[in-house]
């Protein structure tokens, strides 16, 4: 009985760790940069497929985190500085920018996906890394999944501390709360927004690296993860980074419990939670 309980809870945390990381990235992009980035999943895919390529060159997937994170950060930063900044300047209001940027990110999704199809081809890719059992108080888990959980939590917490304790983090939070006032106080808003978009993309890429350690990856894998990220972000409270972190784990646990009884109902349970939350607490777990 205890082992079954541990099985379900740990499996939920393992899945939740990945969801949390993906959702934190999207939350940053939406909460601060105001871009509801539908192409978020494509950055996950880029991280995953790049890791696969590097693995073929005998580069350890954990080293790939240090390679993919910064590269995709630069890509995200540049995308914001070019495409989204221009959209921001030409949109009449913040609300119009939200809808415009969402449409633009739709287009971006197709562009990135097709470039990946051209580059990596349509085949499903995978590799074997740390696929060995580890015994946790009688509950057995795969080592690679425990590693992904460890990294997801470490990266999530590190980023939270960065936001809470550093000067740059404070500037980002200020930009999220009130961009106009933060601008008047000397915060370079456009730079902050691009920075957040870049950080969000980098987090997605790192999640992609971790996903590739456990799951097969391919060029059209992104959208399903982007949808989960959107659910988690709403669950946690739009724009709340800690909310997304907690929301990810909540969704992982719900998925694990439901899967134990009936695997086919896991996705249905995600949406049921989503609907319930919208009715009871529309602002999300940590929303204001």
């Amino acid at each position: 009985m205890i082992v079954t309980f541990l099985d379900i809870v740990i499996a939920g945390l393992l899945l939740g760790g990945l969801y949390a990381l993906i959702a934190m990235g999207l939350s940053l992009q939406y909460g601060v940069a105001r871009v509801l980035n539908i192409s978020h999943g494509e950055f996950i895919m880029l991280g995953a497929l790049t890791t696969w390529t590097l693995f073929q060159l005998h580069i350890n997937p954990l080293v790939s985190i240090a390679i993919c994170g910064p590269i995709i950060f630069v890509l995200g930063f540049l995308l914001h500085r070019t495409m989204f900044k221009r959209l921001l300047n030409t949109s009449e209001s913040a609300d119009i920018f939200v809808s415009n940027s969402m449409l633009a990110s739709f287009g971006l999704m197709f562009i990135i996906q097709n470039l990946a199809l051209m580059g990596w081809g349509p085949e499903i890719r995978g590799y074997t890394y740390l696929a060995v059992p580890v015994d946790l108080a009688g509950a057995v888990f795969s080592k690679n999944r425990l590693v992904t959980l460890g990294f997801a939590i470490a990266i999530g917490l590190a980023f939270y501390i960065f936001l809470a304790r550093t000067r740059l983090g404070k500037a980002i939070r200020a930009a999220a709360q009130d961009p106009s006032t933060a601008g008047l106080m000397g915060v370079n808003i456009n730079f902050m927004l691009a920075l957040c978009f870049g950080f969000g993309a980098a987090m997605a890429a790192i999640a992609g690296v971790l996903i590739s350690m456990c799951y097969p990856v391919h060029a059209v894998m992104g959208l399903e993860y982007a949808l989960i990220a959107i659910i988690v972000v709403v669950l946690g409270g739009l724009g709340s980074i800690p909310g997304s972190f907690i929301g990810g784990f909540v969704l992982g646990l719900v998925g694990s419990i439901v899967t134990y009884f009936e695997p086919g109902l896991a996705l249905a349970a995600y949406y049921a939670i989503f609907i319930l939350l919208m009715l009871v607490r529309p602002q999300g777990i940590m929303g204001r």
Binding site: D7, I8, A11, L14, L15, N114, L117, G121, P122, E123, I124, R125, G126, Y127, T128, L130, A131, V132, P133, V140, F141, S142, K143, N144, R145, C214, Y215, P216, H218, A219, V220, E224, G255, S256, T259, Y260, P263, G264, A266, L267
Partner: protein, 410 residues
């Protein structure tokens, strides 16, 4: 006056001659066979379409056209094949519209198949309505078997659950000594059908199904299922799903140290990319198949044409030989008919035996006859995907029980 009459007569004669030439011109001007296809060039099925039928038809058409094309007696010459391919974006509705467009607007000479079982279900009645021969590629199902008597223009090439994979699998497992099985299947037509056929065929051979779990297509975490299977202590673990599920099921089995005596999964295990992903860990894993290059000179030649000098990822020994043989039969039927008349070609396809890469090959009630099959069950052995069942086609002896997962690299 006489001269005028003569001139008029000449003019009438010339007009008659010209009209005669014009009326026979289409027949004389036929210089190619136009084949139309609706394929998933984008969307989720592009992954399957691009690696399954596409490499086959591309290689085959290039080879046939390099020889000048297909000889059609009616035209007294060889006609090269020209392909018109539209993107159905992996959408059935779009595919049906494009299929009708190909037939009605583009007036293609022949139709080649869309990709996937559900797509065959939708495309077959359209092809049949317009009396267009359709030799299918990716996809096949027990249910289509029941529809075929009312679809005389449809010919299904791929093998499937009770045609004749699972009866053979149950047979070789029973002979090896397996007594129990745990079945996981994807909750769609493919999975439900395979699980249903397993429920019929396994008990026939004395194999008891001790656990069954349906899984959704977006299954993320296999841990609870693999743990349940492990607890059941079944001899055989079945994963009747697609690569997107078969691959994480394999990874989770490894990660949890679950090593049943037989592990079968598919479609998925049969693809080269499965081997590329798991390396030496694939040893002993079973899947579905149709041929091995070791079986014959023709099989070796086909493998060379499709795979030589290319990465292992492109290999599919289950589907590729069926699709290639289907195209060969189609070509031979046209040559034998000596015309592009669909009805005559259909009759020849339905009633004749052909020599293809798979040896003597023919259709039986619209399905590739099971006697034509050159394999049903495959197993990875020393890095090679061998045919292990049925015995008449086997290129290697079944390894049972499956060896342990390899120790991780330090």
């Amino acid at each position: 006056m006489k001269r005028t009459i003569k001139m008029m007569s000449l003019l009438v004669f010339l007009c008659f001659l010209v009209s005669l030439l014009v009326s026979v011109q289409p027949a004389l001007a036929k210089d190619k066979i136009v084949v139309g296809m609706s394929r998933p060039l984008s969307g989720p099925l592009a992954v399957i379409g691009d690696s399954a039928f596409k490499p086959v038809y591309e290689t085959w058409v290039a080879e046939v056209n390099a020889e000048g094309g297909i000889y059609v007696k009616e035209y007294g010459k060889k006609l090269p094949i020209e392909l018109i391919i539209y993107d159905d974006k992996s959408d059935v509705g779009t595919m049906t519209r494009l299929t009708e467009k190909l037939i009605v607007e583009d007036k293609v000479d022949f139709l080649w198949p869309a990709c996937g079982t559900a797509f065959i279900f939708a495309q077959a009645p359209i092809a049949n309505k317009y009396e267009y021969v359709l030799v299918t590629a990716e996809g096949g199902a027990t249910q289509i078997k029941d529809m075929l008597p009312s679809l005389p223009y449809i010919f299904v090439t791929l093998s499937f659950s009770d045609w004749y994979q699972l009866p053979v699998f149950a047979d070789i497992m029973s002979k090896a000594g397996a007594k129990t099985a745990y079945v996981t299947y994807i909750a769609d037509l493919h999975g439900i059908e395979y699980s249903g056929v397993a429920g019929i065929e396994f008990p026939k051979k004395g194999i008891e199904i001790v656990g069954t779990k349906s899984i959704p297509p977006d299954m993320k975490d296999w841990t609870p299922i693999i743990k349940d299977a492990k607890a059941s202590n079944a001899d055989i673990f079945c994963c009747f799903a697609y690569p997107d599920q078969v691959m994480p099921a394999t990874g989770t089995s490894m990660g949890l140290g679950y090593n049943p005596k037989a592990w079968i999964g598919g479609p998925g295990v049969n693809f080269g990319f499965y081997k590329a992903a798991f390396g030496p860990a694939v040893e002993g894993i079973l899947g579905f198949t149709m041929f091995s290059p070791k079986q014959s000179k023709a099989a070796k030649e086909l493998a060379d044409k499709l795979y030589k000098g290319k990465p292992i990822e492109v290999q599919d020994p289950w589907g590729h030989p069926c699709y290639w043989a289907g195209l060969e039969m189609w070509k031979q039927a046209i040559e034998k008919a000596g015309t592009l008349d669909q009805k005559k070609i259909r009759d020849i396809l339905a009633k004749n035996k052909f020599k293809t890469v798979m040896g003597k090959t023919w259709f039986e009630n619209g399905l590739l006859a099971k006697e034509s099959h050159t394999g049903e069950i495959g197993q990875w052995q020393k890095g090679v995907y061998e045919v292990v069942g049925p015995e008449k086609d086997a290129t290697a002896k079944l390894v049972y029980p499956k060896p342990a997962w390899p120790a991780p690299k330090k």
